[in-house]
Structures are given as structure tokens and as C-alpha cells.
């Protein structure tokens, strides 16, 4: 009986290890450099041990009234604002849960995030953000101000957001919104 039980426990352990390996493997495709583990909500739920979570408000564009609407998510708290900003962008990339417009075309990768002294947060996206973009003012405003508004709203030290593409400064995503300057949040576009 004891042997059987041990074998069973052993099997369970192996299964868990496999699951963990598979899980981490799938996360590593995202080329996340700063985070040591994926920070999706599901993983937080499954992970063992108490982790301090905080609420962040994401803004998604609604087609109905053409304004940004808030949606709440939980992210893991960290001393580093950069890390939390990164988690917030990852949440944005998963899209809206209430049927609003998802700001990013599928397959976009977040390359790097860094904060400089003046409160300008640099957010570097993979070049697909330009090649896969739809090219329209509406689509550009959705992508850019979902990002800028969500970051500046949740993290006080972030005053402006500078969007980079593949490590470089770009004029625009598709001929509309100016990316040559750091952007301030555009709260006028938020509902209420």
C-alpha cells in the first residue's frame, strides 16, 4: 500500500513538473526580458504562495460611443514601476473582456519598457505593430491612447509615454498620430 501511494505521489510530481515546464516554455516565446515569470491573471491564480496584487484600470475604445471605457484587472505588485507597467501592457494585449476594441493586432510583442527621470516611459513594440496595423486614425488612436492612458492613469510617476518600434523612434504608426514626441494621456477621450 505504502509503495503504491509513493508511486502515485511520484507520478503526480512528475506530471506537475511537466505542466510547469510546458507553461514556462509557452511564456518564453514573448521575449520578455525584465519579468522573470509570466504575469497573466490565470498564472497568478494558479501560483502558490501569497502574492500581493493590485488593481489596475485599463482603457479600451468602444465603437458605440467612440470613447475609452475602463476595465479593471489585477496585476502582481512589484517595487519596480517598470515591471508593473509591463504587466499592464500585457493585460492590454489580451484585449477587452467586455467586447470593446482590442488595441493591438494579434502577435505583437513587447520588446522593452524603461522609465527615464523626467517621468517619460519608453515602450518598445516589435515591428509587427506597424506591419500588421490597419492604418486608420481610429485604429491608431485606439492602440496609442489605450496604452498611454492606461499607463499614466495607474502609475503617477509616469507622466508621458514614448512609443518606440523595434527600438527606433518612428514618425507615426500609419500616417496619423505623432510618435516623434512623448505622448501625454488624453483623458478627454475617456467616458464621463
Amino acid at each position: 500500500m505504502v509503495v503504491k501511494k509513493r508511486v502515485f505521489v511520484g507520478l503526480l510530481f512528475v506530471l506537475m513538473v511537466i505542466l510547469i515546464v510546458v507553461f514556462f516554455q509557452s511564456g518564453s516565446k514573448d521575449e520578455i526580458k525584465l519579468t522573470s515569470s509570466p504575469s497573466s491573471l490565470e498564472s497568478e491564480m494558479r501560483a502558490s504562495g501569497p502574492r500581493e496584487m493590485r488593481k489596475v484600470v485599463l482603457f479600451f475604445l468602444s465603437e458605440r460611443d467612440n470613447l475609452f471605457h475602463p476595465e479593471e484587472r489585477l496585476i502582481e505588485v512589484d517595487k519596480s514601476i517598470v515591471l508593473m507597467a509591463k504587466r499592464t501592457i500585457e493585460e492590454l494585449m489580451k484585449g477587452s473582456q467586455r467586447g470593446f476594441i482590442s488595441p493591438f493586432p494579434p502577435g505583437i510583442k513587447l520588446r522593452e519598457v524603461f522609465l527615464c527621470k523626467e517621468g517619460i516611459l519608453y515602450v518598445d513594440f516589435s515591428k509587427d505593430i506597424q506591419s500588421r496595423h490597419l492604418y486608420g486614425s481610429n485604429a491608431e488612436i485606439s492602440t496609442i491612447f489605450s496604452t498611454v492612458n492606461s499607463l499614466a492613469y495607474n502609475f503617477k510617476p509616469i507622466k508621458k509615454v514614448f512609443i518606440l518600434i523595434n527600438g527606433d523612434e518612428k514618425e507615426t504608426l500609419g500616417g496619423h498620430i505623432d510618435l516623434t514626441h512623448p505622448l501625454v494621456p488624453h483623458y478627454d477621450l475617456i467616458v464621463n
Binding site: 490597419l134 486608420g136 485604429a139 505623432d178 516623434t180 514626441h181
Partner: protein, 402 residues
């Protein structure tokens, strides 16, 4: 309970009776007191002030002094005045005043350069005053061929506007002010694409060419297109076209794209201040002191300063740009029948360096199959051009050239 019900019923009864009798009270009152009814209506070349009375014509006297036309009536009895709300190109306001044995109507006009004709009819008793422009110079084009069938009212309005808004100095070619029209995208940059293969760059060019045509036919403005064929033009080159020509306004034409196919409608943008509160205050100061900035540019010819100022050129024109956006959006709403998405501000790259009132019009959604099909038709494109033209006209009326 019963008592309460009774009270409520009586209250209702009083309410109803007030509503029933009040109009008749008014009616009987107006029957007994002689009245004068004032109205103003705009016609093709003039505005008509109509003064109707409930009594036979009395003697009157008209006098014109600068902006004012004063009409004096003899009347000993008290008069009641009825007036309609009006909107007119030549008449600013009507004022009614009373003297010991006369009444006076003061017509405030928009310009001192107007003349008037007056005549009376006995049945019905009325005095008619027609106010028109003194100088009736013919402006080139004069709508002779331009008979796009939106409605005759529209054409009348345009004709009138084109005559009233243009100072005589505009008639000479060298003095002609420039309007810059920017058909969005072009060349390798197609812009948004539709499901049926429509490309934003083709539609914007087509509308831009139509708009140029309408403006040059009807107004003494020269139109410069940032591109008149399918070619690459950088956003800076587009803004430079406005600044190098000392443009009066800059209008960028685009077709919208959304990830949602159902997204639809028209919207007009002007630049948003991309600045923190502190910077915004500084820029607001600069907006109010733009002449000082110009002096500074002349004095200090350092590239750095020029660069910064060039970069923010548009911030000095935000108020007028918002006015232009509003005028155009109003016309899009009334002419196109598309959903009104309103006027918005956003940091559009093409607008930032433009040193004149500047807007970006998102005509309709190319990503919406229904609107894409519309955008491809000549009729819709012509309507868009017409709407932008009419918006431009009302802006010019609000901002006459010195």
C-alpha cells in the same frame, strides 16, 4: 384617501384648464392690441427685414448711419411686438425702442458697406426693407456651371456667401490667398484598405481634386494640393506646403479605418496640445502672444529656437482650427447623412507644424463595407467636397481677411 384623490383631481383640472385657456387668452389679447411683427429672411443677394402690422400703414422715416438703419414710426397707441428668431448674413440684430409719440426699430447690420431699399404694401399692411451689398463686383466663376444638385437653397447660400465674404483685394491674382488641401497618404503608403479593395489614398485624392475645383470656381482663393497624383509625400512636406504658401487654411482629407467593421461615421480633428499642465500654460501664453513670438523668430535666428517654434506652429492657431473643424463637421452632418462622430482633438503629425488654422477630416470608414461602397462613388465624393467647401465658407465668414 378620497380627499387626497379629490385634491389631485382638482389640481389636474386646474392644470388642464390653464393649458386650454391660456392660448385663447393670448389670442384675445393680440386681437385687441395693435401689433407689429418683425422677421428677417435671407435671399440670394440680400436680406429682407419684413415689418408687418395689424393696422393700416402709418408714416415712417428711415435713416442710415454707418452700421445702423433706423426706422421711426408714428404711433400714439401702445403696440405689441412679435418677433421671430432669425439668422442672417447682413442683419446682426433688431432693437425696438419707444419714444413719447413714436416707436423706433434699429437694424444693426454686419457691415457699414451696405445699402437698402424700402417699400410698403397696403394689403397686407407691411414695410419691407431689403439690405444688400453696396459694391456688387462680379467674382469670377459665379456658379454658372457649378450646378450640383443638392438643393437650390444650398446654391443660393453659396452664391450669397461668395459675394459677401470676399474683400475687393481678393480679386487680383497676386493677392490671392491660398488654401492648402492635403489628400491623405499616397504612393507606397496606401493608408487604410477596404474589403472591396478601395484604397484610402485614391479616395482622398479624388475628393481633394473635387474640392479644389469647387473652391477655385466659386471663391477667389488659389488652391494648392499637397499632391495631385499618386505619389509619396512626407508629412513634413505637406505641412511645409501650407507654410511656404502662407496658407489661409489647411485641410487634410482622410478615410477612417477601425478593427471593427461596424465602425462608421464622419469626424473632424484638430490638433490636441500634447503637453503637461505646466507646458500647456506656457503654450496658452504663447498663443495669446503670438506676435511676440514672431518678433523673436526674426530677431534670434538660431536653428534651435526655430525648430522648437516650427514644431509647435499649430498651437497658436488652435482656437481657429477648432472653429474650422466645427464648421466642416456641421456641414458633413447635414449633407452626408453619415453618423456624426463629432469634433475631436488628437496629436496628428501632419497638423503639428502647420502655421495656420488646420483640420483633418475623416470622411467615413473605409473599413466598413457599406461606407466603403459609398466612398467609391462619384456622388458621395462630390457631396463630401461640397460639405467641406460649405464648412470652409462659414469659417471664412467668421474670419474675414484683413
Amino acid at each position: 384617501m378620497r380627499e387626497k384623490l379629490f385634491i389631485r383631481k382638482t389640481k389636474n383640472l386646474i392644470f388642464v384648464s390653464v393649458f386650454l385657456f391660456f392660448p385663447s387668452l393670448l389670442f384675445s389679447f393680440s386681437q385687441s392690441t395693435p401689433f407689429i411683427r418683425l422677421s428677417v429672411k435671407d435671399y440670394t443677394e440680400y436680406s429682407r427685414v419684413l415689418i408687418e402690422s395689424s393696422f393700416p400703414p402709418v408714416s415712417y422715416h428711415i435713416e442710415k448711419e454707418e452700421f445702423l438703419i433706423m426706422v421711426k414710426f408714428r404711433a400714439s397707441k401702445p403696440l405689441r411686438l412679435q418677433r421671430k428668431v432669425f439668422k442672417s448674413d447682413f442683419v446682426k440684430s433688431l432693437e425696438w425702442s419707444k419714444g413719447p409719440d413714436y416707436y423706433m426699430l434699429t437694424i444693426k447690420t454686419e457691415s457699414a458697406d451696405l445699402s437698402y431699399d424700402s417699400f410698403t404694401t397696403a394689403d397686407p399692411p407691411q414695410l419691407i426693407i431689403d439690405i444688400r451689398e453696396k459694391k456688387r463686383e462680379k467674382i469670377k466663376g459665379e456658379f454658372s456651371e457649378e450646378k450640383r444638385g443638392i438643393s437650390s437653397g444650398v446654391e443660393k447660400e453659396e452664391k450669397k456667401a461668395s459675394q459677401s465674404i470676399l474683400p475687393s483685394s481678393f480679386s487680383r491674382k497676386k493677392d490671392q490667398k491660398v488654401i492648402v488641401i492635403d489628400p491623405g497618404h499616397g504612393g507606397i503608403e496606401s493608408g487604410a484598405k477596404g474589403k472591396f479593395g478601395a484604397l484610402e489614398k485614391d479616395i482622398t485624392l479624388s475628393i481633394g481634386l473635387k474640392l479644389k475645383n469647387i473652391i477655385e470656381k466659386n471663391l477667389a482663393f488659389r488652391v494648392v494640393l499637397t499632391r495631385d497624383k499618386d505619389e509619396n509625400k512626407s508629412l513634413e512636406q505637406r505641412a511645409a506646403a501650407a507654410n511656404n504658401n502662407n496658407a489661409y487654411v489647411f485641410i487634410s482629407i482622410h478615410a477612417n479605418g477601425s478593427y471593427r467593421r461596424e465602425a462608421r461615421g464622419s469626424e473632424t480633428f484638430f490638433l490636441s496640445l500634447n503637453a503637461t499642465d505646466e507646458e500647456a500654460r506656457r503654450l496658452a501664453y504663447m498663443e495669446n502672444n503670438s506676435s511676440e513670438i514672431e518678433k523673436k523668430i526674426e530677431g534670434e535666428n538660431e536653428d534651435n529656437i526655430l525648430m522648437i517654434l516650427w514644431d509647435m506652429a499649430q498651437t497658436a492657431y488652435l482656437r481657429q482650427s477648432s472653429q474650422l473643424a466645427e464648421s466642416i463637421q456641421n456641414q458633413l452632418n447635414s449633407l452626408l447623412g453619415t453618423k456624426n462622430r463629432g469634433i475631436k482633438q488628437a496629436p496628428f503629425k501632419v497638423l503639428t507644424g502647420v502655421a495656420c488654422p488646420a483640420v483633418l477630416v475623416e470622411v467615413a470608414f473605409i473599413s466598413n463595407p457599406v461606407e466603403e461602397r459609398k466612398l467609391l462613388t462619384e456622388e458621395f465624393q462630390a457631396d463630401v467636397a461640397q460639405a467641406i467647401y460649405r464648412g470652409l465658407l462659414s469659417f471664412i465668414r467668421l474670419n474675414p481677411q484683413k
